[in-house]
């Protein structure tokens, strides 16, 4: 009898240790699971099914008119596809009730006062649970201020300026799930200085506002850190929605630059590239946003060959390594042919790239809400701070508790002609786009080399929490 008791206690102790050891491991297993996806065969972005009533409400605060109107549609497509998935699963159990996810368009017209007004209307009138934004850091700043004032969760999925989460602007209600300008800059510098080690003459050409200066600053800091031998042969900031890039491009040419580093987004990004190629300027653009397929197709295979894109979603080498990845890809791509305006352009063909990044960030958001079991902002904050989550490609996202920025691996994608795209696109038809260059070779930049900057002052401010 005595011997058996001894054995039993050993078993109990072993079991306890095993359980203790297991539980944190299980906690880290929060991830996107393609096998749980709902039936997506009826995903129709041009005729979206949007539930109303007692729902989980996400407001996309973005441009739905004016020069950047196309951006709002891209956001909507991305977020709505995720909402559709969760709704087909039967919704999310929050506060004791299964609720569907409702996506609401909120047009800020790219104007600060309207961004404030529409965000407030979303919070006070529509009673949304999440403000999801946006194109323009100056506009995201306003959204975050509204979120802070009315204690509503905000997600910065597309505004990438680090300054939004410094000590002065930080709000504990807002989470930066996107890549940040310092990450982009450091990532590019790391790639050129530590991986590629070839070109040495760089020209910075960015848009003349908070974001443009921020992303340029990130690159300059990155060069200091990872590529001290590099030479900055020029640095210019052009006005937003510029018509004629030729004068800048003539300067770039004269400066003998080997690479142009730009944070420009559409339509500037497109006009920059198109005009550069028209002027016979064939050098590579190291970019964040020159990845919109219709633009690339306009410039053609030759003009887009050699572009260097940095992104927050992707993979090292082949894009499809698991069945789950293919299932997730096809859930979107199979439905694409039946969509109508404005979702019938090649922007929407693959659901990867920028759209893929927005989709994944939204999956993370809804997964956090599901695990919080509530739309109560305090409960969401509790789960999300220091949360780790794995996206469809196995990339781990970590929400830094102190400043709500996300640490993750980044990816460099080299654009190559269609026949070489199979290096990335390893399933039928073995190219991403047949009439422009696109991702071929791709490299992972490890998360610890490209951590976003943190404002040290936040440490003092957030001591209590």
């Amino acid at each position: 009898m005595k011997g058996k008791k001894w054995l039993l206690s050993i078993v109990v102790v072993v079991c306890c240790i095993a359980l203790l050891g297991l539980s944190p491991a299980m906690g880290a297993k929060s991830k996107f699971d393609p096998s749980k996806m709902g039936d997506m065969s009826d995903l129709d972005l041009s005729n979206p099914v949007i539930p109303t009533g007692d729902t989980i409400k996400i407001a996309i605060v973005a441009s739905f008119s004016g020069p950047a109107a196309a951006v709002g549609d891209i956001y909507f497509a991305s977020v709505q596809s995720v909402a559709h998935d969760y709704n087909k699963r039967g919704g999310i159990l929050v506060d004791g009730k299964k609720k569907l996810v409702q996506v609401i368009k909120a047009n800020h017209e790219s104007k600060v006062p309207i961004a404030k007004k529409v965000s407030e209307r979303m919070v006070l009138q529509e009673k949304v649970d999440v403000l999801w934004g946006t194109n323009g850091s100056h506009l995201m700043k306003v959204i975050n201020q509204v979120a802070d004032k009315y204690k509503t969760i905000a997600v910065s999925a597309a505004a990438v300026s680090d300054e939004l989460y410094d000590a002065q602007n930080f709000s504990r209600y807002s989470f930066m799930t996107s890549i940040s300008t310092s990450q982009v800059g450091r990532g590019m510098a790391y790639y050129y200085g530590q991986v590629r080690k070839k070109e040495t003459k760089f020209y910075i050409l960015c848009q003349d506002y908070l974001f443009g200066h921020s992303i340029a600053g990130g690159f300059k800091a990155g060069l200091k850190e990872y590529y001290p031998d590099a030479e900055l042969v020029g640095e210019d900031y052009h006005k937003l929605f510029l018509t004629d890039f030729a004068p800048y491009l003539t300067k770039v040419k004269a400066a003998g630059a080997e690479v142009v580093y730009t944070g420009d987004w559409i339509p500037d990004a497109a006009n920059l590239l198109v005009q550069a190629r028209q002027m016979g300027l064939d050098l590579p653009f190291a970019n964040l946003f020159i990845n919109n397929p219709p633009f690339l197709q306009q410039v053609g295979i030759e003009g887009t060959d050699g572009l260097v894109h940095i992104g927050q979603i992707g993979s090292d080498g082949k894009a499809f390594k698991t069945e789950g990845q293919i299932k997730y890809y096809k859930a979107w791509n199979d439905q694409y042919p039946k969509w109508k305006k404005p979702f019938d352009t090649t922007t929407y063909e693959h659901g990867t790239g920028t759209i893929g990044a927005y989709r994944m960030q939204t999956y993370w958001l809804l997964d956090v809400i599901e695990r919080a079991g509530s739309t109560d902002p305090e409960k969401i904050i509790k789960v999300w701070e220091n949360d780790t989550w794995e996206d469809v490609n196995g990339t781990v996202y970590k929400m830094r508790g102190i400043d709500h920025k996300t640490e993750r691996d980044l990816f460099i994608e080299l654009y190559v002609p269609p026949e070489q795209q199979k290096e990335s696109m390893n399933i039928e038809p073995y190219y991403w786009f047949k009439d422009c260059s696109n991702t071929g070779p791709s490299y992972k930049l490890p998360a610890d080399k490209v951590t976003p900057v943190m404002d040290p002052k936040l440490k003092d401010i957030r001591k209590g929490s």
Binding site: A246, A254, A270, T347
Partner: protein
């Protein structure tokens, strides 16, 4: 030519090319204002519409040249219809009525464009013969931009010939200074208005087609260039074609040489220029009317 000189020459040509586009757009705006006292806020929208029509004609026929012919004409016809059936009706309500009407028309066009073509940028290719660069004396310059300069010069010359060598041109010039008096001399001024409106929108249409391959076609096209054209009209003096030409080229050159020499100031250089001129000449460089 040494590389530095080549760079300066290239900047001058960039300025000229953009300046000529601005002139095409501003000349219609300033002529319409001079004659009819109407500030046509839909003018830049016609410019954008023509770029879309250009895209569509190319999509149907594959020919840029056909697009260059058809798109501005269709735009001009829409301009004529706007003048004949809408503007003339609200004339009795004064300039505020006309202003509001043109704003309304621009909104309708903008929304229709989105319905027909969506919000994404559409590609327009440079025709094959105009692709590539010319090399002369150490300077590489895109053929298409030379084509824009040439095309605008031809239109400018034809416009000047009509204005200064024909009776119609004489009537238009007289009507710019005193439309009622021209009418009282037995000339059908409403018909002349309609014609000028048509030609003005046609020129905006030509500018729209010319710029489409450089800029990509998207709904914000009107905002970008429209503002610059408006500055040209204000600084040149409302109603002054010569003023529009001079200021358009000055603005183009300010733009390119500004980027070259004071790039931090480049985004605001045109506004500074406008402010300086208006301080000394509130009616613009060649403006006479208030």
């Amino acid at each position: 030519m040494d590389p530095v000189t080549a760079m300066y020459v290239a900047q001058g040509m960039h300025g000229l090319a953009y300046g000529m586009i601005l002139f095409l757009l501003a000349s219609g705006l300033t002529l319409i204002f001079g004659m009819m006292g109407i500030l046509n806020l839909a003018h830049a929208t016609f410019f954008m519409l023509s770029a879309y029509l250009c895209y569509q004609v190319i999509a149907w026929t594959g020919s840029f040249w056909l697009a260059l012919l058809i798109a501005p004409i269709v735009t001009g016809i829409i301009g004529v219809l706007l003048e004949r059936f809408l503007l003339r009706k609200v004339h009795a309500f004064g300039h505020i009525g006309e202003l509001i009407l043109t704003v309304g028309v621009s909104l309708v066009i903008l929304e229709s464009v989105k319905v027909f073509w969506g919000t994404e940028s559409l590609p327009v290719q440079i025709p094959n013969v105009l692709q590539g660069l010319v090399t002369a004396g150490g300077l590489d310059y895109p053929i298409y931009r030379l084509f824009i300069i040439g095309l605008s010069l031809v239109i400018l010359i034809v416009l000047m010939l009509i204005l200064y060598k024909t009776r119609l041109g004489m009537v238009v010039r007289a009507a710019v200074s005193d439309a009622d008096m021209v009418d009282a001399l037995g000339i059908n001024v409403p018909l002349v208005f309609m014609l000028v409106f048509g030609v003005g929108t046609w020129m905006a249409g030509v500018a729209g087609v010319a710029i489409a391959p450089i800029l990509t076609v998207f709904p914000g096209l009107a905002d970008q260039v429209g503002m610059d054209a408006f500055i040209v009209v204000v600084v040149g003096g409302f109603g002054s074609l010569g003023g529009a030409l001079l200021v358009a080229i000055i603005c183009g050159l300010l733009n390119s040489y500004g980027v070259q020499f004071v790039s931090q100031l480049a985004p605001v250089l045109m506004y500074i220029f406008m402010a300086i001129v208006l301080v000394f000449k509130p009616m613009g460089l060649f403006g006479e009317r208030e």
